[in-house]
């Protein structure tokens, strides 16, 4: 048996899972989004579902909200993660403990974190009660709306909390493998601390930051459970809206749900494509 055949056979179990579940699901979704459902007699594929969602103001508002959630969470977590990595790469007393605490919530499920946010930040939550207790506000429900709010602050808080260590660990490993010599060179050539960061360290860690933040963006754009728990009813995040359409009593809403899911998948695919192209160009140069 040639090596090539052996490698193919060894990869087959894993590959069949990926191909069947991922591409299979994607293919069925795609067909349904084109209104192709032989079970209920729909045999003529068309673009009605897409036309319907792209002209619906609900979809557009959801799309913008979801983009806002994904973009804002990604930018805030990336910036804070870089800051945390800059601190954690230094030697200081208790570094191991801080490092452990920093990475602790990597193991906490998103859902558990969301419940925590709910308990702490909602208008009947701990912070609202404390603020009322100390006379900062008259009643707990005067507390600013941070959960179920139109700006999705609760959702973004949850994602930032969860993604800082994720991006941070990647960036920290990146910084540690680079060492500090490049910045030393820059300092010795006349760069201030800030310039050494801006013109030397940042460009060097940028590919790592980018890869981590693309993953975070694609995840936060497509995730359902957090906006379902912490989001406002209207406008709802895209995955929530898609799920509502999917479970609608009207079967005709299903192609729209699938069309939304395809839009989410397409956006993730575009992100990955841009990322791969960009990093390839960088690596080549």
């Amino acid at each position: 048996m040639s090596d090539r055949v052996k490698i193919f056979l060894l990869l087959l179990p894993a590959l069949s899972f990926i191909v069947l579940l991922f591409f299979g699901g994607l293919a069925i979704g795609l067909l349904r989004s084109f209104n192709y459902m032989p079970l209920i007699g729909l045999l003529e594929p068309n673009l009605e579902a897409y036309a319907s969602i792209f002209t619906s103001s609900e979809f557009l508002r959801s799309f913008l909200l979801t983009f806002h959630i994904a973009f804002t969470s990604t930018v805030i977590s990336s910036v804070l993660a870089i800051g945390a990595a800059l601190l954690l790469r230094r030697q200081f007393l208790g570094r191991a403990v801080v490092n452990f605490l920093f990475q602790l919530n990597l193991t906490v499920p998103h859902l558990v974190g969301a419940i925590g946010i709910l308990y702490l930040f909602s208008q009947s939550g701990t912070f609202a009660r404390l603020a009322a207790e100390f006379g900062m506000i008259a009643r707990p429900r005067d507390f600013p709306a941070l959960v179920f709010d139109p700006y999705a602050i609760g959702i973004i808080l949850q994602y930032v909390w969860k993604e800082i260590p994720f991006i941070g660990v990647i960036v920290l490993a990146n910084m540690q493998s680079l060492g500090e010599d490049y910045e030393s060179v820059a300092r010795s050539l006349g760069a201030t601390r800030w310039q050494a960061f801006r013109y030397v360290l940042l460009p060097l860690i940028f590919p790592g930051v980018l890869s981590a933040s693309v993953i975070v963006f694609a995840f936060t754009f497509g995730a359902y459970e957090i906006p379902a728990i912490l989001g406002a009813n209207y406008p709802a995040a895209l995955p929530v809206l898609a799920y509502r359409k999917y479970t609608d009593v009207d079967l005709a809403a299903r192609p729209e749900a699938m069309a939304m899911a395809i839009v989410i998948a397409l956006l993730s695919a575009i992100m990955i494509y841009v990322y791969v192209r960009y990093t390839r160009r960088r690596i080549r140069s």
């Binding site: 030393s184 060179v185 300092r187 050539l189 006349g190 201030t192 310039q195 060097l204």
Partner: protein, 347 residues
């Protein structure tokens, strides 16, 4: 033109007890090219980083022209350090790398590109400005690193192992380039190396550091002819150490009674002399003559190494291959040790 002095410079790294550098004091004159020489891990690079402000000393002082610079930030010291592995910024072109220091100083684009051009000429890479560092050979990267340092017109230039990553033929080219530029620009330059040959060919003065301490700071020849102790002599390839005693003019040992040069130390100690200074052949007028038996002979192309037995001592000698062609193992050879080549290391 800047005179650099190190005063009792000491570094103990966090979590360690032994100092990596122990009270190093050195004066490097303005415009001089000095080498810090020592085996790896002896504190050389640590010293450089402390001069450049990239590492804080545990105690001691670094002074430029008599003024302490320890409180100055690295970018304000007028010191540029060139690292051993060059560390060119991989995402910038060669020209951008060289112009980096000027960009940090907010020098205009036109002025920068003019000076980058000058630097590229100076290091003899006039056409490579648009290349990426990864497209350059090791020697070319080294020159770019040098140009990137020189463009900011530093008062003091620090070079970390400037020749050790280069092939033999490039080393001579680079040595000539560094020496030439250093002489032309008159920059006080300090470089570190673990290779005594590199130190000897490049430096005006050499500081030998062993186990974190300064052994000797002198011109290169002194290390060969007047080493301060056996470890120093051995570092420079000295192999002959004969125990005995000196009265200041003669040395009594297993080799017999030998004439010493003026100013030799007296008391119990060791006599040392370089293998290449052992004279082979019968010369009636020579002083310190003796007869040796040839214990070993190794032809090495341009020279022949000999081991000679005299009165129970085994000494090393290096000879011209033609002079010793007729001798073979076990033969008796007349040799002499000119007094000027002898040096006494007092105990």
């Amino acid at each position: 033109m800047t005179q650099v002095s190190l005063r009792d410079l000491t570094k103990v790294y966090q979590g360690e007890f032994e100092p990596s550098l122990d009270r190093l004091s050195l004066e490097i004159d303005s415009g001089e090219l000095a080498a810090l020489l020592g085996p790896s891990g002896c504190g050389k690079t640590t010293t450089m980083k402390m001069i450049a402000g990239l590492l804080e000393p545990t105690s001691g002082d670094v002074q430029f022209d008599g003024r302490s610079i320890l409180h100055e930030k690295p970018e304000k010291r007028g010191v540029v350090m060139v690292f051993q592995n060059y560390l060119l910024f991989p995402y910038m072109s060669v020209a951008e790398n060289i112009g980096f220091g000027l960009k940090m100083r907010k020098v205009g684009k036109l002025e920068t590109s003019r000076r980058v051009g000058e630097m590229l000429d100076l290091v003899k890479l006039p056409d490579l400005g648009n290349r990426r560092p990864s497209e350059l050979s090791g020697g070319q990267q080294q020159r770019v690193a040098l140009a990137r340092a020189l463009i900011v017109e530093p008062d003091v230039l620090l070079l970390d192992e400037p020749l050790s990553n280069l092939d033999a033929h490039l080393r001579f080219e680079m040595r000539d380039l560094i020496r030439g530029l250093q002489q032309e620009l008159g920059i006080t330059t300090i470089f570190v190396t673990h290779d005594q040959e590199e130190a000897v060919v490049l430096a005006d003065k050499v500081a030998l550091i062993l186990d974190g301490r300064l052994k000797q700071y002198a011109g290169a020849e002194e290390f060969y002819n007047r080493p301060v102790d056996e470890a120093t002599a051995r570092f420079f390839g000295g192999q002959n150490f004969v125990a005995g005693s000196s009265d200041g003019s003669r040395f009594e040992s297993a080799l017999g009674s030998l004439d010493l040069p003026e100013g030799a130390a007296s008391g119990k100690g060791k006599l040392t002399f370089r293998p290449e200074n052992v004279r082979i052949g019968d010369s009636a007028s020579a002083t310190n003559r003796m007869t040796a038996s040839l214990a070993e002979k190794l032809f090495m192309g341009t020279q022949t190494r000999l081991k000679l037995r005299i009165g129970g001592e085994l000494i090393d000698a290096i000879a011209n291959p033609n002079e010793v062609a007729e001798f073979s193992k076990g033969d008796e050879i007349e040799i002499s040790l000119p007094p000027s080549s002898l040096w006494v290391l007092a105990n």
